[in-house]
């Protein structure tokens, strides 16, 4: 046991003279996290959630395409790359393994984590949040974090049914997916990442510049149920 630990905790406990009640409150807060104020703007039917998500994502400088079904994903990506004058080599997450990439012979597809030399990363978002046009990624073998961080262009594939109203909806789904410890507490993946638009900085004379260390372009492909 480190002595700093004992000393700090002793200081805190001395300063925090209190009844037993607050501790009980704190304990139950962790057991069953209460919902706080949730902005109304996310509360909508699916159609409007999708609309809100796209509007907010575009406000954050992302671009969005909507398609009906995963079958047309390779074609849409080929078109997007051509429209941006980008090369056709892409690094794709295993979570998109079912996609028939062979339908676009021009695409050269690699799997696994991104390398420093990769120019385009494609991964699947766990959820989209209509409130702010935010994508949520869970790290893991099927979706390495480097895919949405290292390449200068990132393409996010988001299933329409995964578009949720607010972050709290997303936490509910994350908790359902994750393992629990003996006390019922959630074990999160190593990185849960919220991404709202492409990388940016205002550090030089407060001029908005895109693509500092993360991707300069964020293209979101929303996939309908068709």
């Amino acid at each position: 046991m480190s002595t700093d630990r004992e000393a700090i905790l002793r200081r805190l406990k001395t300063k925090l003279y209190r009844d037993e009640n607050p501790i009980t409150d704190a304990f139950s807060r962790l057991q069953a996290p209460p919902l706080n104020i949730i902005p109304k703007r996310g509360a909508n039917d699916l159609k409007n959630k999708v609309k809100n998500f796209i509007e907010e994502a575009e406000m954050a400088d992302a671009t969005v395409t909507k398609i009906e079904g995963l079958a047309s994903l390779p074609k849409v990506i080929t078109h997007y790359l051509a429209s941006q004058n980008l090369p056709t080599g892409i690094r794709v997450a295993d979570s998109l393994v079912d996609v028939n990439w062979g339908s676009q012979p021009l695409l050269s597809v690699k799997k696994g984590r991104a390398k420093g030399t990769d120019l385009v990363g494609v991964s699947r978002a766990f959820a989209g949040v209509a409130e702010t046009g935010t994508l949520i990624y869970l790290s893991g073998e099927e979706n390495p974090s480097t895919l949405h961080l290292l390449p200068p262009t990132h393409i996010a594939v988001l299933m329409e049914k995964d578009i949720l109203g607010n972050y709290e909806n997303a936490w509910t789904n994350v908790r359902l997916k994750c393992e629990k410890n003996a006390e019922g507490a959630t074990s999160l993946p190593r990185a849960v990442s919220w991404v709202t638009g492409p990388s940016r900085s205002g550090d030089i004379e407060q001029t908005l510049l895109l693509g500092v260390h993360g991707p300069q372009r964020l293209h979101i492909v929303v996939v309908g149920n068709g």
Binding site: S2, P22, P39
Partner: protein
């Protein structure tokens, strides 16, 4: 970090005469505050969320020991290590230990104010480990050997030409004739310089915006993505955070995130918000092998239960700086230590001692803008006043000041005495000032008159006019109407 907060008056004086700085600060004024206003307008629940964020943090502070112990349990359970450190020395040593064990040569860093507090860069350099700041603003000021002048915009005091000069001087392997006349070119040069550093670093050090007791996660908020590359690519991730950063649950963190970016830059949400939990899992293809959290006290536990406890709610958004007329006039460096603006003027004396930073709480007009915009509703003007009170009570030297204040109190407590004296003084001032309209010199008021004139009184006081039955302005109005 060494403090020069005791030289505040000199530093502020110099800052006022620094043309580059004044131009840079001029740009700051409108940008952030207008964007914040617009973001608040777009979200009807914004004020309610501020109340909620305050309530959450107050609850945390009341139960800080409990939440920190839970956080510790969860970090260890997730395969991470947690190191309690009482002060900057302990934190420096622990970080060096971890780096040495890993035989680290280079460390990438994402912006951390705690990193500034414990001067980790200087310490690592002394021990032959190269620290590399990766936030664009921090990278620029690291090359220049400067410290951040704003919590969220560390290089806000610089203009483009200064950045260009620095890059030409430091990036010596690049073509000297290259063009660097646009922000975009400067950005691309910094990005390409830092790319290999990210890929080759042995250790990544980040701060944390929050710690989550429920899951043992550390929350990182950036716009550039540098924090994510810093904790994803190297073999070791070290998080440095102070005690008060803990919040109970994912939902509580979410509520605070809803007010953080809006208050800071006016964004709906920062670009990257990442919840890091432990080292990489067995099947992960990327992420660090080790995850360490340095949990630092460095004076926070002393604030708990004190009249300055409210300051522990601060989430370092920078809104109080962006709205402060004093900050906008002198910039961040004049404050002399890690923090600046209203939050700095409250926090710095608490962390390094009032005797070493006594001018800071006095450098405020108490206009109240900071409190009006603080997402955590910290009563900053009240806390500044509290420091002034402490200073007054603690000062033994200033006996003349104390006597004069006692005299003042005697007058103020008796309306008759006060009005009599005021009428007398006003009469004298009016007689002597009638001709010039103001005074360039007054006895006992050198502090006022050395930088501006004292205006001569415009006429009798409000109360004496009222007593005569009518205000002068009303009398004039009455005369006008009678003429019609």
């Amino acid at each position: 970090m060494e403090s020069s907060a005791h030289k505040f008056k000199d530093l502020a004086f110099t800052a006022r005469r620094d043309a580059h700085l004044q131009a840079a600060l001029g740009k700051l004024g409108s940008g952030f505050s207008l964007k914040r206003k617009e973001a608040a307008r777009r979200l009807p629940e914004f004020e309610g969320l501020r109340d909620q964020a305050k309530t959450i943090k107050d609850h945390v502070l009341e139960n800080l020991d409990f939440y920190l112990e839970r956080f510790e349990e969860r970090v260890i359970e997730g395969g991470g290590e947690l190191h309690w450190c009482g002060d900057a020395d302990a934190a420096q040593k622990k970080i060096l230990d971890i780096c040495r064990k890993a035989n680290a040569k280079t460390v990438t860093k994402s912006k951390s104010m705690i990193g500034e507090e414990i001067a980790i860069n200087e310490f690592l350099e002394k021990n032959n480990i190269e620290p590399i700041e990766t936030d664009l603003g921090e990278y620029i000021i690291q090359l220049r050997g400067e410290t951040p002048s704003h919590i969220i915009a560390p290089a806000v005091h610089l203009n483009m030409g200064q950045v260009e000069d620095t890059f030409r001087e430091k990036h010596t392997t690049l073509e000297p004739g290259r063009k660097l006349d646009e922000p975009q070119r400067l950005l691309e040069e910094a990005r390409s310089q830092l790319r290999d550093k990210f890929l080759n670093a042995d250790v990544g050090i980040t701060g944390a915006n929050m710690l989550i007791a429920e899951t043992g996660s550390t929350v990182l908020v950036t716009n550039e993505g540098n924090a994510d590359l810093t904790h994803t690519l190297p073999r070791i991730h070290i998080v440095i955070a102070t005690l008060e950063k803990v919040v109970p649950t994912l939902e509580d963190a979410t509520s605070i995130l809803r007010v953080l970016a809006r208050s800071a830059t006016g964004q709906e949400m920062s670009v990257y918000t990442t919840f890091c939990t432990g080292p990489k899992k067995s099947k992960d293809e990327d992420g660090p092998d080790e995850y360490h959290v340095i949990l630092l006290d460095n004076g926070r536990s002393e604030l708990l239960g004190s009249e300055f406890q409210d300051m522990l709610r601060c989430i370092r958004c920078g809104a109080c700086l962006n709205h402060c007329p004093v900050y906008q006039t002198i910039g961040g460096h004049a404050y002399g230590w890690v923090y600046s603006g209203p939050m700095g003027a409250v926090l710095i004396p608490a962390l390094i001692g009032l005797d070493r930073a006594g001018d800071l709480p006095n450098a405020s007009t108490l206009c109240g803008q900071c409190e009006a915009v603080c997402p955590m509703r910290i009563p900053l003007p009240g806390l500044l006043r509290a420091w002034r009170t402490k200073q007054f009570e603690g000062s033994e030297k200033n006996t003349l000041g104390k006597i004069l204040l006692k005299v003042w109190v005697t007058f103020v407590k008796s309306p008759k005495l006060y009005r009599g004296a005021m009428n007398f003084i006003l009469m004298i001032l009016e007689i002597f000032g009638r001709k010039s309209g103001g005074f360039q010199w007054l006895p006992l008021a050198k502090g006022w008159t050395q930088s501006r004139d004292f205006p001569s009184p415009a006429g009798p006081t409000f109360v004496s006019q009222w007593k005569k039955g009518l205000l002068m302005s009303d009398q004039e109005e009455l005369q006008k109407r009678q003429k019609k």
